[in-house]
């Protein structure tokens, strides 16, 4: 298996650096600074220290015994990223990027957010390191993820509402990029997922890869072996790549990414870019995109704001094209059911995004043998989704 990405950020035919010239020098600087940081033991030490003492890592790998017994098949483990400070895996990446921003002498950070988890994680590190912070968020997402908007404001960030398009994650990213073009000299853009122009997909994946490394170690201790299946939801795909990366060469471990089928694949109202998209270029990288025959990006839809994006990280596109990972879909209804199930049977309220992964595990576990093991990446907690769940009942 090749090491990806290559030097110019290509994962096979995907990835790359399709950015406006105004941003290119900043992207090259960032690549250089990140390269240096990777070799710098003090950077790694700082990162690890904040991960453990501030974010609360390692997160636990929890055996969901009741769920396993009820489903009657494979053993189900939950990688509890919901237990991180700020309530999701997003803090892994924002800590890394904020430390890098500090190293580069940048005092202002911006970010896009869908579910608000990345926005909260960015606002948090900005407060921690004394940086000025602007978060771009679609108006529809501001409405449906209100608790996270309050959190960002409490943390001292400015939340910039975005009205264009469907007023969701894609539009927030458009606006963040436009703002970055005008502020690039003094502002660091903390991209929240494994997408965007190189080096973001590489950098975010590496900062998130702690999820899989810990899982591997914990699984070895708890079960003395590798798991059989890893399941994670995929919007841009950062929690999934964070989980998959350490297992990419363990060919006996099946990697399953779960895309959001929204109101059903047949309705066209979904955001399953790998299952229903074509290769194209958006937001700085080549990847699978939901688009029409003329290359115009189609509106995405999911009940989970964090998955509501018409593209996917280029490394997932590469994994799909090479067959290393498989990508399935789960509808809104199935995710909502899994949300309720995990809440009532394990006492864990998952984020609606993560509930997509839970739903997939519920589908496959009963068909598997009792000595097989599934690990679900429980990427975040679901307090933020109370309003959406109430509206859907």
């Amino acid at each position: 298996m090749k090491t990806v990405p290559d030097k110019r950020g290509h994962f096979g035919v995907f990835g790359g650096r399709y950015a406006a010239e105004t941003l290119m020098p900043a992207l090259l600087d960032l690549e250089q600074a990140y390269g240096k940081a990777q070799k710098d033991s003090s950077f790694k030490k700082d990162f690890d220290l904040y991960q453990s003492r501030y974010a609360g890592r390692p997160t636990s790998l929890y055996f969901a015994e009741r769920m396993t017994r009820q489903l009657g098949g494979a053993k189900i483990y939950l990688k509890r990223e919901d237990l991180n400070h700020t309530g999701s895996h997003k803090i892994n990446n924002t800590l890394g990027q904020a430390l890098l921003a500090r190293k580069m002498g940048k005092k202002k950070v911006i970010a896009e957010t869908g579910a608000g988890q990345h926005g909260v994680a960015t606002a948090t590190v900005a407060a921690l390191f004394g940086m000025e912070c602007k978060i771009f968020m679609g108006e529809e997402d501001i409405r449906r993820q209100a608790p996270n908007v309050f959190r960002m404001k409490i943390l001292g960030a400015e939340v910039v509402p975005v009205q264009s398009g469907t007023a969701t994650l894609k539009d927030a990213m458009n606006e963040a990029m436009r703002y970055w073009v005008s502020s690039v000299r003094d502002t660091f853009y903390i991209i929240g997922t494994t997408a965007g122009p190189h080096p973001y997909p590489l950098m975010v994946r590496n900062f998130q890869s702690v999820i899989g490394r810990e899982t591997k170690r914990q699984m070895a201790r708890q079960e003395g072996r590798l798991p059989d299946v890893l399941v994670a939801c995929v919007g841009g795909g950062s929690n999934a790549l964070g989980m998959f990366h350490a297992f990419r060469r363990d060919m006996g471990v099946a990697l399953v990414g779960v895309e959001a089928a929204g109101r059903g694949m047949h309705t066209g109202q979904h955001c399953a870019s790998i299952n229903a998209g074509k290769a194209g270029v958006l937001h700085g990288n080549k990847t699978y995109l939901l688009q029409d025959a003329h290359g115009q990006i189609r509106d995405a839809y999911s009940i989970a704001a964090g998955l509501d994006y018409p593209g996917v990280g280029p490394e997932h596109a590469y994994f799909a094209a090479t067959g290393r990972a498989s990508y399935v879909t789960v509808t809104d209804d199935e995710a909502v059911e899994a949300f309720g199930y995990l809440s009532r049977h394990e006492g864990i309220i998952p984020a609606l995004e993560s509930a997509h992964a839970v739903a997939q595990a519920m589908k496959i576990a009963p068909k598997m043998k009792k000595d097989q093991i599934i690990v679900i990446c429980l990427s975040g907690r679901g307090d933020k989704d109370a309003q959406t769940i109430i509206e859907s009942m």
């Binding site: 406006a20 105004t22 290119m24 436009r178 005008s182 690039v184 290769a279 270029v281 937001h283 290359g295």
Partner: protein, 264 residues
């Protein structure tokens, strides 16, 4: 040399600066776009940049974003834009640059695009999100077809990167006159003078400056530094304002005449 090079050559002899005018294809309708381009040419525009509308124009400010949305609602596609070029070319020899984001071209097919664009009479291509690092996948085809692949230089571009971009420039070097998206800020003359000076020391290829140039006075000032100025949002705003009015062509014509006068 193609129409773009010839145009700059002729203007140099006349000691005039080029007025490069951007408009979004299909805004407000394909038929009106053709009439608008012919009006621009008549009024003194030297080169026209025909913008291919894209759903997610991240390098554009609110004016061109809105125009792109109107154009897409009117059913504009890249095939449609290529048809518009064919129709304009029957009636005018004005140099035509297609201005696009990469995805519509990628979806159309890079090779087919280069061949079709050349065949209908386009002269150059400018892709805002295709920096030199990623350009070869399109440029091998546009170079082969004989289209000028126009390169962008930003205020943030410097050093070796600037030299490399300028060295491979065709048609003209497009200097982005603000650190920002289209139509959002006024250019700062001192910075522009310095940057254009640097470009000039590296190449004889003409330099046109654009982004944020909104009136004849600014155009005149920048025209003293560059070989051409690009206007976009100011015209697109005018088209929006007059799109339901009989006065549309007249208003556009007056605007172009006034700005061109500042470049003579």
């Amino acid at each position: 040399m193609g129409r773009i090079g010839n145009k700059f050559g002729k203007l140099r002899v006349k000691k005039e600066k080029a007025l490069v005018v951007y408009l979004t294809a299909g805004d407000p309708s394909p038929a009106l776009t053709i009439e608008l381009i012919l009006t621009l040419a008549e009024a003194g525009a030297d080169i026209v940049e025909i913008g291919v509308p894209f759903s997610d124009p991240t390098a554009d400010g609110p004016v061109i974003q809105a125009a792109s949305q109107r154009a897409l609602k009117a059913g504009t596609t890249l095939s449609g834009v290529i048809e518009m070029v064919r129709k304009v070319r029957r009636e005018s020899q004005i140099p035509i640059v297609l201005f696009s984001y990469f995805n519509p071209i990628f979806a159309y097919g890079v090779k087919r695009f280069a061949e079709d664009a050349k065949q209908v009479g386009a002269d150059g291509i400018l892709v805002v999100d295709l920096p030199p690092e990623e350009a070869p996948e399109l440029r091998v085809h546009t170079d082969a077809a004989g289209l000028d692949f126009i390169s962008l230089v930003a205020p943030t571009t410097g050093g070796r990167r600037l030299r490399e971009i300028v060295k491979s420039a065709a048609g003209f070097v497009y200097y982005i006159s603000i650190t920002g998206v289209t139509g959002t800020a006024a250019p700062e003359i001192e910075n522009i003078a310095g940057d254009i000076g640097k470009i000039r020391r590296l190449t004889k290829t003409p330099v046109a400056a654009g982004f944020g140039i909104s009136d004849a006075a600014q155009a005149g000032q920048i025209g003293r530094l560059a070989d051409g100025v690009v206007i976009g949002s100011v015209l697109v705003r005018l088209i929006d304002e007059y799109r339901h009015s009989d006065g549309l062509m007249r208003a556009v014509s007056d605007c172009i005449r006034e700005i061109k006068a500042a470049l003579r």
